[in-house]
Symmetry: C2
Amino acid sequence: MLTNRQLLVLKVIVDDFIETAQPVGSRNIAKKESISFSPATIRNEMADLEDLGYLEKTHSSSGRIPSEKGYRYYVDHIMSPLKLSKQEINQIQQSFSDRMIELERVMQNSAHILSELTRYTTLVLGPQVYETKLKQLQIVPLNNQSAIAILITDKGHVEHRSFAIPEELDQSDLEKTVNILNEKLSGVPIVYLDRFIETEVKYLLKKYTNDFHKSYQLLNQALFTEQPTNLYVSGKTNILSQPEFADVDKIRSLFDIMESEEQIAPVLKSEDEGLHIYIGQENKIEEMSNCTLITTTYSLGDNQVGTIALLGPTRMDYAKAVSILDLWSGQMSQTLQKWFTEQ
Amino acid sequence: MLTNRQLLVLKVIVDDFIETAQPVGSRNIAKKESISFSPATIRNEMADLEDLGYLEKTHSSSGRIPSEKGYRYYVDHIMSPLKLSKQEINQIQQSFSDRMIELERVMQNSAHILSELTRYTTLVLGPQVYETKLKQLQIVPLNNQSAIAILITDKGHVEHRSFAIPEELDQSDLEKTVNILNEKLSGVPIVYLDRFIETEVKYLLKKYTNDFHKSYQLLNQALFTEQPTNLYVSGKTNILSQPEFADVDKIRSLFDIMESEEQIAPVLKSEDEGLHIYIGQENKIEEMSNCTLITTTYSLGDNQVGTIALLGPTRMDYAKAVSILDLWSGQMSQTLQKWFTEQ
DNA sequence: GTTAGCACTCAATTGTTTCGAGTGCTAATT
DNA sequence: AATTAGCACTCGAAACAATTGAGTGCTAAC
């Protein structure tokens, strides 16, 4: 257990290093208002903190920098949430106040604003639309081999996928299946699609089509191919202005990661509810091992529906990042709630 | 006018510098097989070429590097197209041989393969679908204020846009307009949409709706808002492995450009038919001033429908890049032709 | 016209020195 | 017993000099 003074010293060092990116020396610490003891005392404390693993030296006679364990302790026990400025709060709130026609646009916009405010990279995983209803389903055959399925939800989300029409499905069956789907599936909440198809649609297909199996296959191709990810990223280049990324190789590997949804999306998807901080090596992706990822989820009612994250150097302004994410996720959840109950 | 020997020297220097990224000295040139005269002679020629502006020195006793004018001359008068390897040709051809359900996927795939082959950044501006027909138009009202328009072309391209429904448009007019549009516009070639609306649709709207103006406004909102750009970019990080981009600031500004479609798309859109090479300062975008952009167009029949481009350092492998672009654009045009006439 | 020869240039590398911010330890002070 | 002053020591960073070598331009010989 750390003494109060050790706590104070650790806090000052982390705060200073977050600001300046330079190792912090005892003399500089002693100059701070909050510090009332001499450099020598601080040196002793620092030596202890280093022994305990909270601090590191870059070389034998340098000042100290926080270790990952130090950041972890800071985040868990020391840091207090930052009070955001009115302006910052306003900006975040405004990203919700625009007339939201499409959820997509809100997401993109939010990502943009958060990356501007924090100067870190923002990743938003769009909502899993549990409660949205299928406003309309359209299957449009393009020719004999292929067709396009278009799903429109009542919240303005449009999704389309092309797929191959099963061979040997005859023309009349195709038409019938398409008609049945188009007619029957409108207005069905997405989560119930499975069940609804089981109970209502299957029976119709059996009744009206010649080759039930082929028709059913068509249906599955149209509705249940690939789960689309909806990841919005903004401020990718922000991370370039951080001094820890002066090295082109690091930049390259990090960018390659950020470019590929397939690698990032699963990480965000697997998040538990609430706010999580992954410091350095704690990240599951190796290329992020000198970054910190802060994630938080947002929800609709009791359902967690999406994730938002900030990616920056381990020397991140944790207090600010956390405050901003908290504010956003609260606002987002609230807005979703309002939006989904209003009409 | 350059002598043959000057031509040869210039060619050797450009080729060597493209390969090594190092200033080329007279001794090294003399060692090449194609060179049968001494370093001293070469030095004289190089001095002349420098006076003429085709070569530069990085400092007073360094070897020479090509100037932008030198590259320009090389590209215009010296370079001969590179014969591609069978493997390279195969890879490009294969990107067309997959069963093309969606044009989008072909584009994305092509961009990927070209960036792999060249190690430069590939930019593809998708086809302006002159000849495609509207397979289906759907306007789906979400609520009283907003609706979504979905356009599906017969080539599987899906486009959607949300828009606000004009206020005070009464319910019955809305329904009627939507019905008329949905019914009448299917199968109409995109280029004729304007005309078709003038001749066929306007008259129907006038006849069946109460407030023609509002309905007509609705139609315009649905069909003619923002022209969506369809830009596919691949291999953005390739450029990071070029030694000329060791500097983080340059990287940053270039990446910021590449992130924003709004800045890139117009450049590609404005291209004249055929192959164009923009070396360094010739680029319209300042941040690209130490890059070369090679663009070429592809076409359907006589109509130029899209553009593809490679972005790399000025020290680019011009011969290879040009050969690859030529091959691709030929294949693409051919494929489009086949595809649009076959059914 | 070509080339050998030579003095000259300059970036890059290496080694040396100096500087200063910082440490750890010990002894004096509170 | 805790704190602090004092001091020797460490080490990176910056400044400077010396060395090296790849390259040039020029002149004179071939």
